[in-house]
Subunit: 427 residues, 2 copies
């Protein structure tokens, strides 16, 4: 993006591809004031909250003793994703929730908030984000209020998340001003359904691709993905193409063309997801042998969806294209992982082998011994990867990856959500 | 009490006159270990929690900006009560909740607790103590857990309160061990009904006597008290005689006789509530003219109750005796108040004249402008005065004392409770 883009252009850039914006006027006002000095991602400085305290507040998803390792692990994952994609990370700020959520001031505000928020409002706010259980825990009621306070304590102008966060966001808009703090704007991505159809499930690794899934696992998962011929409404693959792959492809094309782009060089194969010989304007290609109709090139998502609906494109065609694109995105991330001893150590400590000490009851206990879910991650302004990885399947111990809990992230906590958020990068 | 009283004697002394004891065995064990080095009030060191944070967590009873003044005010009240009665104060420890309830460690424990306590259990625990309203606030659910954590953070062996605290106490006994902390014992006084019959109400000053009520107000309140001839079941005056006046009288007799006592000299008229010429063993006398039957002397409470039931003693007789005794107890407290500029200043700031800035709407707003209730006070081991005073009716402004909120204290939060706790000092 040009450094002298107008406030209107910046606003469009910030909000493009989002499903919903609450309080957009306040963002426009900030841009009009010229408050975008470090022209980064459309003039937005990004704070990523590593929500370690929230992680166990949501039904103890992450046990306290593992939270610090998972926080470290997540930070590595996110940085690797940004670096490989070419998203500038110099102005990115990672903050651990526990670094300020245990302070005197924060807790006084938490108590003040609890004295004006009704049980009913707190419950309603968390209904889509907190795992709903038969005997709900008190922590689930604290969760929305703390997410609201975070906006104040992180000093952000707006918060970004999946549309599943909507009730928490409107809760924050209602209550922060009652504590004397500014009401923040909220940007929301659409949700992406799981690969298995329906909601993406943290307890079903086959419903999502993880950043460290090796190519063979990616192939297997996509092969198993629910993808009915002609069915475009319940189709996790199409949703993923629209929300993740096409935006990445478009940004790469912009960079190749030398048109205004926010992307840096990136790592690994940075070619867009278009085949050789694609006509000008192509953003996504589906490669297939001549005998099945030959490669098809698309200039927009809608045409892909239409062809799939008309069964011009078949599930196998789509699966092949998606598999190739995902492997292309993941390969440089996994290379960084293999070279990073600190990241690997964090992963091992964050997701200890659940069967290590339970050899005797291995089979019977398999299900119960699943490691708890990983820490939630929340981006308080924006830029979240669409999926957060499973813990890596360490080759040295024979852990069946399907027996590990899949990761979960705040802007789309999988288990509790109907869909994963659209992870497109709204640059 | 003799410094070499046996553990059994000490235990009897600690628990006499209580309605209920939970975990008495742990107290006996502590006494057996010889852990009563500073022989104070039956070998118990007393911590009084000035629960400033709790005060606004219970439906904002005390607004934040007034809490610090009310805490100060309360500390003066309690010290004056102890000094005048002759209760040793040298080993008394006052702690403000905010001095540790905003710390990192405490809040981490609060979050940990919230992640194992169900909404249901938190609600149930507070049912008798938290003001029950149509749209309950989140703060009411935090209240019981914090009262449990307080036991750990104040380092007490047992907590003392009215039987209205029973559910909070059993909650603490259940959950503290789950956080890895010791289960504490709990001592409970009976509740004392209000003067107006039924529960003592914070919003009805006539339902209770306040420490700073001048003699004329005491007389008026007692005169108006609900006291049906022969009715001993709904009779706040009889309950007060049993729970407060007789214990004070007995301790004074012990001191006069030079028998083992914990009382120091005290201030003001320290004579027991017995009339001249009372026979040996008298603990309470009801003085009346010969024409109404003459003065009656009692050696125990049961005989008073029986005589009242049989209408040998009439409401007017009882009211006279209670009025005299209360005024005798309050006079030295009020003398201390009149001599203490700091206390008076705290009182003025803690209970600002609600009409001062609202001259125009004085009459219409009288009810709404009532100052909120004062901070809760909690004694974590024992020794609580039976009643906590109204804010003083400052003579310089024409505030109708009946328009002020009456005080409320944790071990008997008036408004929310069926009865006030028995304020007898279980020495």
């Amino acid at each position: 993006m040009s450094a002298n883009a107008s406030p209107e252009e910046r606003y469009e850039l910030i909000t493009r591809r989002l499903q919903e914006v609450l309080g957009g006027e306040s963002i426009k006002a900030i841009l009009q004031e010229g408050r975008h000095p470090k022209c980064y991602l459309a003039g937005v400085e990004v704070t990523i909250l590593l929500a370690d305290v929230h992680a166990f507040l949501d039904n103890l998803k992450a046990p306290l003793e593992l939270v610090a390792y998972r926080t470290k692990y997540y930070q590595h994952v996110l940085l690797a994703v940004f670096r490989t994609l070419g998203i500038p990370t110099s102005k990115l700020r990672f903050v651990e929730g526990s670094s300020y959520q245990l302070s005197r001031e924060y807790n006084m505000d938490n108590y003040r908030l609890s004295a004006i928020v009704t049980e009913h409002d707190a419950k309603k706010a968390g209904a889509e984000v907190i795992k709903q259980v038969e005997s709900p825990l008190l922590s689930g009621l604290l969760y929305p209020g703390m997410q609201a306070l975070d906006e104040q304590y992180l000093g952000v102008d707006f918060q970004f998340g999946g549309v599943d966060q909507r009730k928490i966001f409107t809760f924050a808009e209602l209550y922060l001003p009652r504590l004397g703090y500014a009401k923040r704007a909220h940007l929301m991505n659409a949700m992406v359904p799981g690969l298995a159809g329906g909601k993406m499930s943290a307890s079903d690794p086959n419903s999502k691709i993880d950043f460290l899934d090796p190519p063979a696992v990616v192939k297997k998962k996509i092969k198993m993905a629910f993808c009915e011929p002609g069915n475009v409404t319940d189709n996790g693959l199409l949703a993923f193409v629209k929300a993740v792959l096409i935006p990445i492809s478009e940004l790469r094309i912009e960079r190749l063309n030398g048109t205004d782009t926010v992307l840096e060089a990136g790592l690994g194969d940075q070619s867009p997801f278009i085949a050789e010989g694609a006509p000008e304007g192509t953003i996504f290609s589906i490669v297939r042998p001549e005998k099945f109709g030959g490669t098809v090139h698309y200039k927009n998502y809608e045409d892909i969806e239409k062809d799939f609906a008309d069964e011009v494109i078949h599930p196998g065609d789509l699966k092949g294209a998606v598999t190739d694109a995902i492997i292309k995105v993941l390969t440089p991330i996994q290379e960084l992982y293999s070279q990073n001893a600190e990241w690997k150590e964090a992963a091992e400590k964050a997701y200890p082998d659940p069967n290590a000490k339970k050899e005797l009851k291995k089979k019977e206990k398999k299900k119960q011994n699943r490691p708890p879910q990983v820490a939630n991650t929340r981006a308080d302004t924006k830029v979240l990867p669409s999926a957060v990885p499973d813990p890596p399947a360490a080759p040295e111990n024979n852990v069946d990856p399907s027996k590990r809990e899949v990761a979960d992230e705040k802007a789309g906590g999988a288990e509790k959500l109907p869909k994963e958020p659209n992870g497109a990068i709204p640059m």
